[in-house]
Amino acid sequence: MSAERITRREMLKRLVIAPVGAAVLTTLEVREASAAALQRYYAPYFVAVLWEGRTRCDSLWRSLKGDVVAILPTVQGATPYDRLYWTGYALGNAPVNVDMRVLARAVDHNGVPLGSGWREIGQATIQTPPMRWFRVEIPEGHWDEYRLEVRSATPRLVYSRLIGSQGYWRE
């Protein structure tokens, strides 16, 4: 019989087997200047974990990394990814009610943003029973940097992971 050493976080992930809560982003309009409508099916061939960790949510808009400095990105070098997926769960016995928003921007060759501020891609509210997984799909890919912010009226600890995917568009 063999023993396996796992972290507390990994143990929690294995214990929490529950339906997935989903939230839909209210996305801004994306202008398509071509025949993209023909490309209907998306099959990812490569995924990368862009960020993973825990975030202590409170009433302030905080990056997943915990900061409240609006100019700092949560992830950089995200240009190759068609889509981003944010998955996670919140600790605690109370129902989850966490607001999140996704911001993005482009940078020049030196990593300097092309302009001040961010483009807001969308907002969502994660509302699930306690200890349920949630998943948010961020459809607007190929921005260089993203800032994912969360806040909650009731302080919560959120464990989450941000994944970037590259894929085939099939007609």
Binding site: R31, A33, R105, E140
Partner: protein, 118 residues
């Protein structure tokens, strides 16, 4: 085939009523990029200088001339971000990204999704 991002252009242009491409070329036959057959999509992002909309036209073709085009408007507030996605229906060798409108500064970046062998 998979794709990889290729930064094709980063720069600033003074937009005017006269159409010109992002390289400030007014000659309508002058391409902005050449040797772009492997690019299957273009992601044009940036920041506008004023509230006025900017009209854009993207032309694609080869040495014989332009064969496909797409037009639209970049709208938004001053210093607001924009994003235009271009997915041409076929591979083309050369492209021209042309803009016109009320005078304003346009900071933008064009990234191509280039097909590469697996």
């Amino acid at each position: 085939m998979r794709t990889q991002p290729l930064t094709l252009y980063v720069g600033t242009l003074q937009v005017e009523a006269t159409p010109k491409d992002v390289l400030n070329q007014a000659e309508p036959l002058a391409p902005t990029f050449v040797n772009a057959e492997r690019c299957r999509a273009f992601y044009w992002t940036g920041v506008k200088g004023s509230d006025a909309p900017i009209a854009y036209t993207i032309r694609a073709g080869n040495a014989a001339g332009w064969q496909w085009s797409a037009s639209g408007q970049i709208t938004g507030n001053a210093r607001g971000w924009f994003r235009v996605v271009i997915k041409p229906p076929a591979p083309y060798d050369r492209y021209r990204f042309e803009v016109s409108g009320a005078p304003q500064t346009l900071h933008s970046k064009i990234t191509g999704a280039e097909e590469v062998a697996e």
